[in-house]
C-alpha cells in the first residue's frame, strides 16, 4: 500500500514538474572546464527569457552519455532537450517519431540562409522536416605541435605532415615522443581519418565514406594511407596515455612533438595559457590538404505531448542560433559558429585559420554524418587494434577496412 502511495505521489510530482512549462531539462556531456563555461552561456540566455535551464550534464564522453540519453528517450522518460552529434545517431529516433519537428522555428529564423555550411542543416533534416538545431562546428583535421619539443631537439617546427615524419628521428634522439596518442578507440579511429584526408585527399575520402566504395577502400591509393598510419603508429609507440587531454598535455609540456586531435584540443592550450604561433602551432589538414570536416553538436528536442512545453522547446531552439548566443558560446568552447554572418574578432589564430578554411568552402562531411554508429563502431574496433598492435600489418588492416566499408549501409 505504501509502495502504491509512494508511486502515485511520485507520478503526481513528476507531472507537477512538467506542468510548469518554464523548466527545461537539458542533457549534454560537456563537463570539462571550458565546455562547462560554454554551456553556462546557453543557460544564462535561457534563464533571461523567463524559462529555467535545468542542467542535466552527464559525465564521461559522448560514448557514455549517448546510451543514457537514448535509453531515456526510448524508455518514455524524455528530457526536454539534448545534445547529440548530428548526423545518423538520431536517425531511428526520428523515424520512430520520438523527436519534435522544429521546421517552423527554422523557417521563422531563416536557418536555410544563415547556416553555413548548409550540410549541417541537411544532417538535421529528414524527409524535408528539421529535427535539430546545430550549435557549433568541430573539426578533426588538426595537428598540434609543441615549439618547446622542437627547440629541445634542435630542429625547426615542421609545416606539413612530411616534414613532421622526417623530424621524428631528431625528436626521438632528444628523448621526445614524436606523436602523442591516447589509446582509446575513438582517438585511434579519428587520427586515422585525419591521415586519410591528408594523405589520400578529399576525393578518396568521399568515395569511401560517402559512396561506400569498397574497391577504393582496398585500392592502391588507400594503401598509401595505411602505410602512413603504420608510420604514425611507430612514432606513437612510446605514448602510453589513455585520455586525449593527457596526450595534449604531453605536447603542452614539450614531452611530445605533436598530437593529431580535433580543435577541442585548443581549449587545453588556452587553459595552460599558451599562445598559438608562439608556444604551439596548429596545422589544419596536417598542413597538406587544408580542409576541415564540419561535424559538430546539435540539440534535439524529444516530444513531450504538452503544448506549453513544446512552445518553450521551440523558443530554446531559436535562442541557440541567435547571433549573440552563438558568439558567446563558441568563443568559450573554441569551436566555430554555425552562422556565417557573425563577427568573431576575438577568435585566436587557430580559430581564424579554421574560419578562413570554412569561408573558402574547403569542407567535408564528418564521420558522424555519413557513417552509421554501427559502421563507426566497427572501424573503431579495427583502428584501436591496429594502432596498438605493431604486428598488425597495414595490408591486413586495409583488407579488413575494405570489408567493413563493403558491408556499410
Amino acid at each position: 500500500m505504501n509502495f502504491m502511495k509512494a508511486t502515485t505521489a511520485g507520478i503526481a510530482f513528476c507531472a507537477a514538474g512538467a506542468v510548469s512549462a518554464a523548466e527545461l531539462e537539458v542533457t549534454h556531456w560537456w563537463t570539462s572546464g571550458g565546455e562547462a563555461a560554454a554551456v553556462a552561456e546557453f543557460a544564462k540566455a535561457l534563464d533571461a527569457t523567463g524559462h529555467t535551464w535545468v542542467d542535466g550534464a552527464i559525465a564521461g564522453s559522448g560514448g557514455t552519455a549517448r546510451p543514457i540519453i537514448i535509453s531515456r528517450i526510448i524508455g518514455g522518460d524524455p528530457m526536454h532537450a539534448t545534445q547529440l552529434n548530428h548526423g545518423r545517431q538520431a536517425e531511428e529516433l526520428i523515424e520512430a517519431g520520438l523527436l519534435l519537428d522544429i521546421t517552423d522555428v527554422a523557417e521563422a529564423g531563416g536557418w536555410k540562409d544563415i547556416i553555413n555550411p548548409s550540410s549541417l542543416l541537411d544532417s538535421c533534416t529528414v524527409d524535408g522536416k528539421i529535427y535539430c538545431a546545430p550549435v557549433n562546428i568541430h573539426s578533426w583535421q588538426w595537428i598540434w605541435l609543441s615549439h618547446k619539443a622542437y627547440e629541445d631537439a634542435g630542429v625547426p617546427v615542421p609545416s606539413n605532415w612530411d616534414e613532421y615524419v622526417a623530424s621524428a628521428g631528431a625528436l626521438e634522439a632528444a628523448g621526445k615522443i614524436p606523436l602523442a596518442m591516447g589509446q582509446q578507440a575513438w582517438q585511434s579511429s579519428g587520427a586515422f581519418g585525419v591521415i586519410n584526408v591528408a594523405v589520400g585527399g578529399v576525393e578518396l575520402w568521399n568515395k569511401i565514406n560517402v559512396q561506400k566504395d569498397a574497391e577504393a577502400a582496398g585500392g592502391a591509393e588507400m594503401a598509401k594511407v595505411f602505410e602512413a598510419a603504420a608510420a604514425a603508429r611507430a612514432m606513437a609507440a612510446n605514448s602510453n596515455v589513455q585520455d586525449w587531454n593527457q596526450a595534449t598535455n604531453l605536447v603542452i609540456t614539450g614531452q611530445a612533438g605533436g598530437q593529431i586531435m580535433g580543435d577541442w584540443a585548443q581549449g587545453e592550450f588556452q587553459v595552460a595559457e599558451q599562445v598559438a604561433g608562439e608556444d604551439y602551432t596548429c596545422l589544419p589538414g596536417l598542413g597538406v590538404n587544408e580542409v576541415i570536416s564540419t561535424g559538430g553538436d546539435a540539440f534535439y528536442f524529444p516530444k513531450q505531448g504538452d503544448a506549453d512545453i513544446e512552445a518553450a522547446q521551440k523558443e530554446l531552439a531559436a535562442l541557440l542560433l541567435s547571433p549573440e548566443v552563438q558568439v558567446n558560446f563558441n568563443l568559450k568552447k573554441g569551436s566555430l559558429p554555425v552562422r556565417g554572418d557573425i563577427d568573431l574578432t576575438a577568435a585566436n589564430d587557430c580559430m581564424k585559420k579554421g574560419l578562413e578554411i570554412l569561408a573558402a568552402g574547403n569542407i567535408l562531411l564528418s564521420g558522424d554524418q555519413v557513417l552509421s554508429a554501427d559502421t563507426s563502431g566497427q572501424i573503431e574496433d579495427l583502428m584501436v587494434e591496429f594502432w596498438n598492435d605493431p604486428s598488425y600489418s597495414a595490408a591486413d588492416a586495409q583488407a579488413k577496412y575494405a570489408q567493413i566499408i563493403g558491408d556499410a549501409d
Binding site: 560514448g63 549517448r66 546510451p67 537514448i70 535509453s71 526510448i74 545517431q89 536517425e91 531511428e92 529516433l93 520512430a96 589509446q183 582509446q184 578507440a185 602510453n240 589513455q242 552509421s372 554508429a373 554501427d374 563507426s376 563502431g377 566497427q378 574496433d381 584501436v384 587494434e385 591496429f386 594502432w387 596498438n388 598492435d389 579488413k400 558491408d407
Partner: protein
C-alpha cells in the same frame, strides 16, 4: 518433451487417486505465483524475445519484421574482437575458477585450524568483497601502473631492471585483470568454505585422528567429498561472476591495449548501446547464454538425473 509428458501422466494418475492434491499447501502455491510469473515472463519470455531478435536486423530500435537469418552470427564469428573476447573469457574463467577454489579453500582450512585472531583474518580476507568491481579495478590499475605501482617500488629498492606492467602488455593483460578478480573474490569463497568446514562433525576429526590419518589426507579424502554441496554453491557463484565480468575490465583497461583485454559482456553492451546495433548485441548475448547452457545442462543432468533413477 518426453520428460514433461511422463511427469504429466504421473501427476494425473496421482491426482486421480487423491483429488485434493492440487489444493494441498494452497498458501505456499499462491505465494509462489509471483515468482513463477517472474520466471516465466522475465527470464524465459525475455530470453526468447532476445533470441528471436538476434535473427533480425535490429539497429537502435528492435525491428521484429527485418528477418536476416544467421547474418548476425556470421558477422559475430568473423569479428576479431569477439574471438579475442572469447579467448580472454576462457583464460580468465579457467584460471579464476581454479585459483578461487584453491585459494578460498586453503585460506578456510588454515583459519579452521583454530588459530588465534581468526576473526581479524576473516575480516581482512573478506574485506575486498565489500568493494565494488569498479573500485577494485581502479585500485589495481594504480597498483599495476608502472609509474606509481609495484614496478616503481621494486625499482626504487634497487632492482633497476624489474618490469611488471601487465596492463600495458597485450600478451598478459588478462592476467592483470585476473589478479584483481581473485583478490576481490577469493575472500568470499573462503567464507563459504569456512561455513562448510564448520558444518563437519567434530567426531569425524576424532575418528580420523584415532585411525592415524594425516591432516592433509583427511582434508582431501574425507572432508572435501563431504563438502560437495558447498563446492557446488561456490562453483555456481564463481561461474556467474566469470560470465558477467565487465566492470572490472572497464575500470582497469577499458579493453586495451588495443582490443587485447576485451570480454564478451563488454562486446554485448557496446554493440547494443554505443554502436546502436541491437541485433549484433543480441546475437552475442545469445552465444553467451549458449555457452552457459553447454556447461549447465550436462551438470544438471548428472546432478539431478541420477536421483530419478533411484
Amino acid at each position: 518433451m518426453a520428460v514433461t509428458d511422463g511427469a504429466g501422466t504421473e501427476s494425473a494418475r496421482t491426482s486421480a487417486k487423491r483429488p485434493n492434491r492440487l489444493f494441498k499447501n494452497m498458501t505456499a502455491k499462491l505465494a509462489s505465483i509471483p515468482m513463477v510469473f517472474t520466471a516465466l515472463v522475465v527470464f524465459i519470455g525475455c530470453t526468447a524475445w532476445t533470441i528471436y531478435h538476434s535473427f533480425t536486423k535490429s539497429r537502435l530500435l528492435p525491428a521484429p519484421d527485418k528477418w536476416v537469418g544467421l547474418d548476425q552470427y556470421e558477422r559475430l564469428w568473423s569479428t576479431r574482437r569477439w574471438l579475442v573476447s572469447i579467448e580472454n573469457l576462457a583464460i580468465y574463467g579457467i584460471c579464476s575458477l581454479v585459483l578461487s577454489l584453491v585459494i578460498g579453500f586453503t585460506l578456510a582450512a588454515l583459519l579452521d585450524r583454530k588459530i588465534r585472531g581468526e576473526g581479524i583474518f576473516r575480516t581482512i580476507f573478506l574485506y575486498p568483497f565489500a568493494l565494488s568491481f569498479i573500485v577494485t579495478g581502479l585500485v589495481w590499475q594504480w597498483v599495476l601502473n608502472p609509474q606509481f605501482g609495484i614496478q616503481s617500488v621494486v625499482q626504487r629498492w634497487g632492482w633497476e631492471s624489474f618490469t611488471f606492467d601487465p596492463l600495458n602488455n597485450a600478451d598478459i593483460v588478462i592476467y592483470g585483470i585476473l589478479i584483481a578478480g581473485i583478490w576481490q573474490g577469493s575472500g568470499f569463497i573462503m567464507v563459504i568454505m569456512l561455513a562448510g568446514l564448520r558444518g563437519i562433525d567434530e567426531d569425524i576429526w576424532k575418528a580420523t585422528r584415532v585411525e592415524g590419518i594425516p591432516v592433509w589426507k583427511t582434508y582431501i579424502v574425507v572432508i572435501i567429498p563431504m563438502m560437495r554441496p558447498v563446492f557446488v554453491t561456490a562453483l555456481v557463484l564463481i561461474a556467474a561472476g566469470i560470465i558477467k565480468v565487465y566492470d572490472l575490465v572497464v575500470a582497469q583497461t577499458s579493453g586495451g591495449p588495443g582490443i587485447s583485454s576485451e570480454v564478451p559482456a563488454k562486446y554485448v553492451i557496446e554493440k547494443m548501446f554505443q554502436s546502436q546495433n541491437l541485433g549484433q548485441g543480441f546475437a552475442a548475448s545469445t552465444m553467451m547464454l549458449l555457452s552457459v547452457l553447454v556447461v549447465l545442462i550436462p551438470w544438471a543432468y548428472l546432478e539431478f538425473g541420477g536421483k530419478r533413477r533411484d
